[in-house]
């Protein structure tokens, strides 16, 4: 399947509303989408959801011979895969630019920042070391893959525990999980990437979605877009910068980098705190022998009807409470509200019923729909 192209009016529209202070999904410039981290039954497996972007990470380990130049260090290997599951435009087993770019960024962020104590992974010098492999799989691509993948890599590395070993003479015995408690990986610091989309070289959008990402890096027909770009900032919990990467146009406004770093510092700290908290509570549950499994992410909370396409536009003044109020009074309304889409949006069905209802007296609804027309 060929690449996805955006029409000029889509691009112009996004450019325009961003310059007017809005975003398509109703967020503020600095607002991130909802972050969710779930751990699987194995050590070192997790799914990270950032809005609609979903990434699966799994850490595995094996005993290998060390590299000759570093005989007393373990090996960390990061591998990113983007299958057609992420979005239809990707092909299976194809090395795309995006893949290479993501792989390199993650390597910079986790390998080159030396956040893992590689020396602790050594078993016998020059003979046996642990090789740790992180497999990052993109399940759904709705923008900001780098941030989502980096949170997934960090959480899975922090969550991972390798089997314990015993050395007796020449031979090394690897204990299974039931024989001896596994050992967690030592992390010196917790780096996390965050992405900012730059619009008109002075507006910073944190956590851009797919549309915002594509618009800021592409150019429109009339005016070539020289002022947009993507800025990735990697920072750890001590607010130290580990990674800076810019794609797109050159920045002539130095303040913007400073602003991005200031923004990222708080955000990264929050994310790292969240990751640490979740891992601690996960550890607690495991000690109580609670079975943890990915099947927990299957819920029936957000159900959509098969026949309706959902809308990912959010109205700024829109408020969920409005519906629920009307809800209680009308049976038919209740039925429809069972199928509120997962974005909490005004889907076509609800708008329709609202219009009918407004004849009775709810003038609020008319206001909202006229609001949306203006937008």
């Amino acid at each position: 399947m060929r690449d996805l192209f955006l029409s000029n009016c889509e691009k112009n529209f996004i450019q325009k509303i961003v310059s007017e202070g809005h975003r398509l999904d109703g967020r503020n410039y600095n607002e991130s989408r909802k972050l969710n981290i779930t751990f699987g039954s194995d050590y070192g497996s997790c799914i990270v959801t950032l809005g609609e972007t979903k990434v699966l990470a799994q850490v595995t380990c094996e005993v290998v011979q060390p590299k000759q130049i570093r005989p007393n260090e373990g090996i960390l290997y990061i591998n990113v895969e983007i299958s057609p599951m992420a979005a239809p435009q990707f092909e299976a087993n194809r090395q795309t630019d995006l893949l290479v770019y993501m792989n390199r960024l993650l390597e910079k962020c986790y390998k080159d920042s030396k956040c893992i104590d590689l020396e602790s992974l050594c078993i016998v010098v020059e003979e046996k070391v642990w090789s740790i492999r992180v497999d990052v799989k993109v399940i759904n691509h709705d923008g900001n893959l780098v941030e989502c993948a980096s949170i997934a890599t960090l959480s899975s590395l922090a969550h991972f525990k390798r089997p314990d070993i015993t050395r007796s003479g020449d031979s090394v015995i690897i204990h299974t999980l039931s024989e001896k408690d596994p050992i967690p990986t030592v992390l010196f610091h917790y780096p996390v990437c965050s992405t900012f989309a730059i619009y008109n070289s002075d507006i910073l959008l944190s956590d851009p979605n797919f549309l915002e990402e594509s618009v800021c890096t592409s150019s429109t027909e009339e005016e070539s877009n020289i002022n947009g770009g993507l800025l990735v900032v990697g920072m750890n919990q001590y607010k130290e910068v580990c990674l800076l990467d810019l794609t797109g146009a050159a920045i002539y406004n130095t303040n913007i980098v400073h602003k991005a770093i200031m923004n990222a510092a708080d955000k990264c700290k929050d994310i790292v705190d969240l990751v640490k908290k979740l891992i601690a509570s996960d550890d607690n549950l495991r000690q109580k022998r609670v079975k943890i499994n990915f099947s927990d992410i299957i819920t029936t909370e957000h159900k959509m009807s098969l026949c309706k396409k959902d809308l990912n536009i959010k109205l700024k003044n829109y408020n969920v409470d409005n519906i629920t109020k009307i809800d209680d009074s009308d049976e038919e309304m209740e039925k429809n509200c069972m199928e509120i889409s997962k974005y909490d949006v005004v889907s076509a069905a609800i708008q329709h019923t609202a219009e009918m209802f407004s004849k009775k007296g709810g003038s609020k609804w008319i206001e909202i729909s006229s609001d949306s027309d203006e937008d």
Binding site: Q58, R133, D135, I139, K303, S305, L306
Partner: protein, 221 residues
């Protein structure tokens, strides 16, 4: 096929949970857990594909199985082949000539019975995608244990110690065998009995499908 209610109680499968529309970018997607095994499947199609892989008669089906960690291996190709041939038989792919349909299967948890779970999840994702289908299909696993008894919906320990593992996929119209694959050795009688039991148990899977679709579509309900 008429099934006695009391008889059905013996035909217990592992608890199943499913959610549709988990992926926003795919045309159809489903996540399914059978016991502790969890799989996520996305379906994209009909798509515009390269000239050389287009077929003038029917849609070109492509299946990709991704394991959770480690490198891809030969066993993945075998899984892809089974899923592809089964979906090919179930899809009315001659309605979409010169196009491609991609099915991607991602393992999330493997506690035994990954392939049957992937097949069921692929079927659910196809239902969700709205592609025209001849029939739906249900995969059921059973094992022949050390004593020679047939156990439906085996646990991981039972799978590891089993003498033979038999998997069957039935179609929804006349419950005939669409796909089957086995491990280990077994006698002819065991094979036939296992198949009949699985055939009856497939009703449970179809009932589950109906249940799920009902929840998501008010037209049927």
């Amino acid at each position: 096929m008429d099934v006695d209610e009391s008889q059905l109680k013996d035909f217990k499968l592992k608890p199943m949970k499913c959610e549709f529309n988990v992926l926003s970018k795919s045309d159809g997607s489903a996540i399914l857990s059978q016991g502790e095994t969890v799989v996520i499947v996305s379906v994209n199609g009909p798509l515009d594909i390269k000239m050389q892989s287009q077929s003038i008669e029917k849609a070109t089906l492509e299946v990709l199985c991704c394991s959770k960690g480690g490198k891809p291996c030969v066993a993945d190709r075998y899984k892809e082949n089974i899923i592809k041939q089964t979906c090919d038989a179930a899809l009315l792919s001659n309605q979409y000539p010169r196009t491609g349909i991609t099915i991607t299967v991602q393992e999330l948890e493997d506690c035994g019975g990954l392939l049957p779970c992937s097949l069921n999840c692929a079927c659910l994702a196809l239902i969700n995608s709205g592609l025209a289908m001849r029939c739906v299909f249900a995969a059921v696993t059973c094992v022949v244990d050390e004593q020679g008894d047939i156990v439906l919906g085996p646990s991981k320990e039972q799978l590891d110690t089993a003498r033979a593992v038999l998997n069957f996929v039935f179609d929804s119209r006349d419950k005939s065998l669409m796909t089957g694959f086995t491990e280990g050795s077994f006698s002819e009688d065991t094979y036939k009995e296992a198949m009949e039991r699985c055939r009856v148990a497939s009703d449970l899977v179809f009932a589950f499908y109906r249940d799920i679709v009902k929840q998501y579509s008010k037209i049927i309900a």
